[in-house]
């Protein structure tokens, strides 16, 4: 039985990816498990791939609540650009949640493009429609420059102090 070993490495990786995402049928799962139980090399590849997938799955956005305000913060440097997963995460964290007062900490956002700016505007519109507000905390100078150039900076309030930003939601 040699389901994956000795094949083109990408082919093996395809089986591993499907195993991890649980899209192999029961028979193929059995076959793959029977194989890796006897094959150290394939088991190691499986373990490494699982870690890659787990990292891809883990969210980079942290959420905390302070005085009824949801503060969203990026745990690692992030780009709000066309293909960035953070864009999706931001959408999930704002548009698919019931919170109406949201403060986004942009201090770890190193780059933003039209898709990122568009997402910020979608979040802003969504929250305003729901009688809430969106505010921004600590954008990097380059990001701030773009926010100003596009007029978003005048629409969405920006702060450099978290307490002040949270307090402003009650004004």
């Amino acid at each position: 039985m040699n389901m994956v070993c000795g094949r083109e490495p990408i082919e093996r990786e395809r089986v591993i990816a499907k195993y991890l995402s649980r899209s192999l049928d029961a028979e193929a799962v059995e076959e793959f498990e029977a194989h890796y139980l006897g094959c150290d090399e394939c088991f190691d590849e499986l373990q490494v791939s699982e870690r890659v997938a787990a990292d891809l799955r883990a969210s980079n956005v942290a959420r905390k609540q302070t005085n009824g305000v949801s503060i969203l913060r990026f745990k690692a440097n992030a780009e709000l650009t066309h293909s960035a997963r953070e864009l999706d995460e931001l959408r999930r964290e704002v548009l698919e949640q019931s919170d109406s007062r949201v403060l986004i900490d942009l201090s770890r956002v190193t780059r933003i493009d039209s898709a990122g700016l568009g997402q910020l505007m979608s979040c802003y519109s969504h929250l305003v429609k729901n009688r809430g507000a969106l505010k921004i905390l600590n954008p990097a100078p380059e990001v701030m420059k773009l926010l100003d150039m596009t007029g978003i900076g005048t629409l969405i309030q920006t702060f450099h102090d978290e307490q002040e930003a949270v307090g402003s939601f009650d004004d």
Partner: protein
């Protein structure tokens, strides 16, 4: 099967992986199921009922499958007394594990370009086929291999996971 300690430890690790995949990370009986599998396997070995040593992986897999099935049947007959006990999570790693993983990989995927991340997400999480991804990102097979195996090498290094290579260059990244 090689009866040495490292070899048994390795088999235990693999069985644990399989059991977790099927019963979930919240199951408190994982180690018991692994132990039961090992006991049955070594008994069978002693009785010389494993005809072909090459196929011991398939044999131990069959034992493990039966142990898991018996456990499930038992669990159905004797439901958990405490209704607050968490239900098996179908093998998804708990958030704490994932966070611990993230901490351990400062040199892992964080270094990858967003484009590489998007490609890896399509492959590992969205179940897209290689050809579809290559078309979408206008890349050829070789470029796809580089993205995939470069990411894996970073993780291998970050975790100190290594495979004793047997001469082939199947896993090498042709950069």
């Amino acid at each position: 099967m090689d009866p040495s300690e490292p070899s048994i430890g390795r088999l235990r690790l693999k069985l644990r992986y399989k059991v977790l995949y099927h019963v979930g990370h919240n199951c408190a009986d994982v180690d018991d199921l692994v132990q039961e599998t090992l006991v049955r396997f070594f008994r069978a070995e002693q009785r010389k009922t494993i005809r072909n040593a090459e196929e011991s992986g398939a044999f131990v897999n069959g034992i493990c499958r039966n142990v898991i099935l018996e456990y499930r049947r038992r669990a159905r007959r004797e439901p958990q007394l405490d209704p607050d006990l968490p239900f098996p999570d179908a093998g998804i790693r708990p958030e704490a594990d994932v966070l611990e993983m993230r901490d351990a990989i400062d040199h892992g995927l964080k270094e990858l370009a967003e484009r590489d991340r998007a490609i890896l997400r399509s492959f590992y999480l969205e179940g897209k086929e290689k050809d579809e991804i290559c078309r979408q990102w206008r890349m050829n097979d070789a470029q796809f291999r580089v993205v995939l195996f470069r990411a894996k090498e970073r993780f291998r290094r970050a975790y100190g996971l290594g495979v004793k290579r047997t001469g082939g260059n199947d896993h090498q990244v042709d950069e």
